[in-house]
């Protein structure tokens, strides 16, 4: 027992040393960016108004769920999934089609759909060590085609219950509450469960993890199932917001999601990171977008800004690793 505890402490203690030394550059950059954002926000008239804040919360929560989902995969060492946005859309379609059986059934079916779609990919990636980028790219193309074949371009709601999710509670959008709730639940899973610790271990070095007796395949599948379920919740929120489900609305969410994950500070190499950081990352992106909009910049510039931010983060992570 003591031996196991000792080795666990060692395995947790080893990475903190270099990480502490790595902090300054990344932290400085992050603090500078944060100061810039806050300064811009305060100097933009109307940014702190009620309407603007509600719009901000709304904008964050939909793609935010997908970003939380992505965090599990990035931490687990699988970089990103190119099919997560398609999974989101398909889950939304399932939700809309199943609403005739009532809200709870529809939610459960959507979660199952998301979990199964993503879990199957996890099985191929985890057990056969197939390349996650290629598997998820193929799954993306498959899902687009299959959804078109089975459901057509658009799924209309089979019942009115989705209106509930569009509402507000004490002036806060329900979708935002769901998003924050998910972030907290996800963070608890990562920080305090055995699965969470194994996921970190697998992400930082899957061979060492396997040698240590961790079922890498099982952990990878579990991470994918969780990611699929989280993405499905995003899909439910997207479908509810727009009153119908299609494959277009959530298109490109996977790129915003991975951007939020990386900007939040989760390492692209896997093995470290948190969902609360991703929450901050998505908040930063939402603030950038809102500011750009209010300052009169076009949609195009927002995309470029987010892209550059991602590149900067990746380079900073690389510089930090080099110092080590």
């Amino acid at each position: 027992m003591t031996e196991a505890a000792h080795s666990l402490a060692l395995s947790e203690g080893t990475p903190t040393g270099p990480r502490l030394r790595r902090v300054p550059l990344a932290t400085l950059a992050r603090l500078a960016a944060l100061a810039l954002l806050v300064g811009l926000a305060l100097s933009t008239p109307g940014f702190l108004s009620r309407v603007s804040l509600i719009a901000l919360a709304n904008a964050m929560s939909l793609v935010g769920c997908v970003a939380l989902a992505m965090t599990f995969l990035t931490i687990g060492g699988n970089i990103m999934s190119l099919s997560l946005a398609a999974t989101t859309s398909v889950a939304g379609m399932v939700f809309m089609a199943a609403l005739g059986w009532g809200l709870p059934t529809a939610v459960v079916l959507a979660l199952v759909a998301g979990g199964v779609i993503s879990g199957l990919q996890g099985a191929v990636i985890g057990w056969l060590r197939a390349n996650p980028i290629i598997v998820s790219l193929a799954a993306y193309a498959l899902l687009i085609g299959a959804a078109q074949l089975v459901a057509g371009p658009k799924v209309l709601p089979a019942g009115p219950d989705f209106q509930l999710l569009k509402g507000r509670w004490l002036d806060v959008p329900i979708s935002f509450l769901v998003f924050v709730g998910l972030a907290i639940i996800g963070q608890l899973i990562v920080s305090f469960t055995r699965f969470g610790h194994e996921l970190m271990f697998v992400g930082s070095n899957n061979r060492a993890a396997e040698a240590a007796g961790i079922h890498v395949g099982r952990v990878t599948v579990a991470a994918h199932v969780l990611a699929g379920a989280f993405a499905a919740i995003g899909g439910i929120l997207v479908a509810s917001r727009f009153g119908s489900a299609d494959m277009q609305t959530a298109r490109g969410f996977e790129y915003t999601a991975i951007a939020a994950v990386l900007i939040g500070g989760t390492s692209i190499a896997g093995g470290s990171g948190s969902l609360l950081q991703t929450l901050l990352g998505i908040a930063a992106i939402a603030v950038i977008n809102a500011l750009a909009l209010m300052q009169g910049f076009s949609m195009e510039v927002q995309r470029l800004t987010v892209g550059c931010a991602v590149l900067v983060v990746i380079v900073l992570q690389g510089l930090g690793r080099m110092k080590r």
């Binding site: 991975i258 590149l311 690389g318």
Partner: protein, 322 residues
């Protein structure tokens, strides 16, 4: 490492697909063979160079996921500049791609970053850049003569576009087969430390490979946009799925160090033949997408290292009688 990684296999797969297509066409009654060959080569012109560039990065054990964005950005740049001077436009588009590749190569080698992360950042940034340079609009070229000239049949099955693609493969094939470059590329992909010890300038190889990948994707994007007479920031074709499939079917191993331009050409032609065959058989575009995605999925599973090991073990245990 890869069940496809065998020097003759790509050719065998290509022959099999061609045979199946031929039988299918024979049973259904042959339309115009020239027309079918022409459409195969036109598609080859779009995905071939991209698959070649991506494949070369994969042989060097890197992975350039940004090829689609590069292609689309180069097309936009070319059409914007090309409205005044089409030659200058084409040059600007290809130069953009080469520059993008150079920057990525320098980031990957200089900072020791994984190429997937760098090219992922590049993918998002370049997509944003495409939207900025076009102002989120679809832009037309307004040079009908050039669009016509690029797509006009030459010798009834070729066109300027497809001859360019074939030329790229021929040049790459000759260089890799006859010069040191091929050996250096394979060595860099197989074992970087050993290659460096043996005197290969591995960093330079990686940077060059990224420049080629950027330049080839850009060239494909320029030709596609000129051929369609429009450029769009959202991209004109989904190129990543067929390009990756072509490279792996063509014998490039994901673990690096294996593959050749000839193999990649076979892989690309296999996909183009499949595509043309499905078209000729009247399969709907949706079904075609599902089939192509299925091909990539199968390829990903078959190329998985663990599956290969299980397979090898089984054939070693029970395969003695065969």
């Amino acid at each position: 490492m890869n069940a496809f990684a065998d020097d003759r296999k790509p050719l065998v797969i290509l022959a099999a697909v061609v045979l199946v297509l031929a039988i299918a066409l024979f049973l259904r009654g042959i339309g115009s063979l020239d027309l079918i060959l022409f459409s195969i080569l036109q598609y080859f012109a779009t995905i071939g160079p991209v698959a070649l560039g991506l494949g070369l990065t994969m042989i060097a054990r890197e992975f350039d996921i940004s090829v689609g964005s590069t292609m689309s950005l180069a097309g936009c740049v070319a059409v914007i500049v090309g409205q005044r001077d089409p030659n200058l436009g084409a040059l600007a588009g290809i130069a953009t791609g080469v520059a993008v590749g150079f920057l990525q190569g320098v980031l990957v080698t200089g900072l020791g970053l994984s190429s997937i992360s760098v090219s992922l950042g590049a993918l998002i940034t370049l997509a944003g850049l495409s939207y900025v340079v076009t102002g989120n609009q679809t832009i037309s070229l307004n040079h009908a003569d050039i669009t016509q000239a690029i797509n006009a049949p030459i010798g009834s099955v070729f066109s300027v576009r497809s001859l360019f693609a074939i030329g790229c493969f021929a040049a790459a094939g000759v260089v890799v087969a006859l010069t040191r470059v091929g050996a250096e590329l394979t060595a860099t992909g197989s074992d970087r430390v050993a290659a460096a010890t043996a005197g290969v300038r591995v960093n330079r190889v990686v940077v060059v490979v990224f420049m080629l990948s950027g330049g080839l994707s850009a060239a494909s994007g320029v030709f596609l946009s000129y051929g369609l007479s429009v450029a769009s920031p959202s991209g004109l074709t989904d190129v990543l799925v067929p390009a990756i499939s072509a490279a792996i079917v063509g014998g490039v191993a994901l673990t690096g160090g294996r593959g050749s331009p000839v193999g990649i050409a076979c892989g690309a032609l296999t996909l183009c033949t499949l595509n043309a065959g499905l078209n000729a058989l009247g399969v709907s575009p949706t079904m075609q997408q599902i089939i192509l995605a299925g091909v990539l999925f199968t390829v990903a599973v078959v190329a998985a290292p663990r599956l290969n090991r299980i397979w090898m073990r089984r054939t070693q245990n029970g395969g003695g009688a065969l």
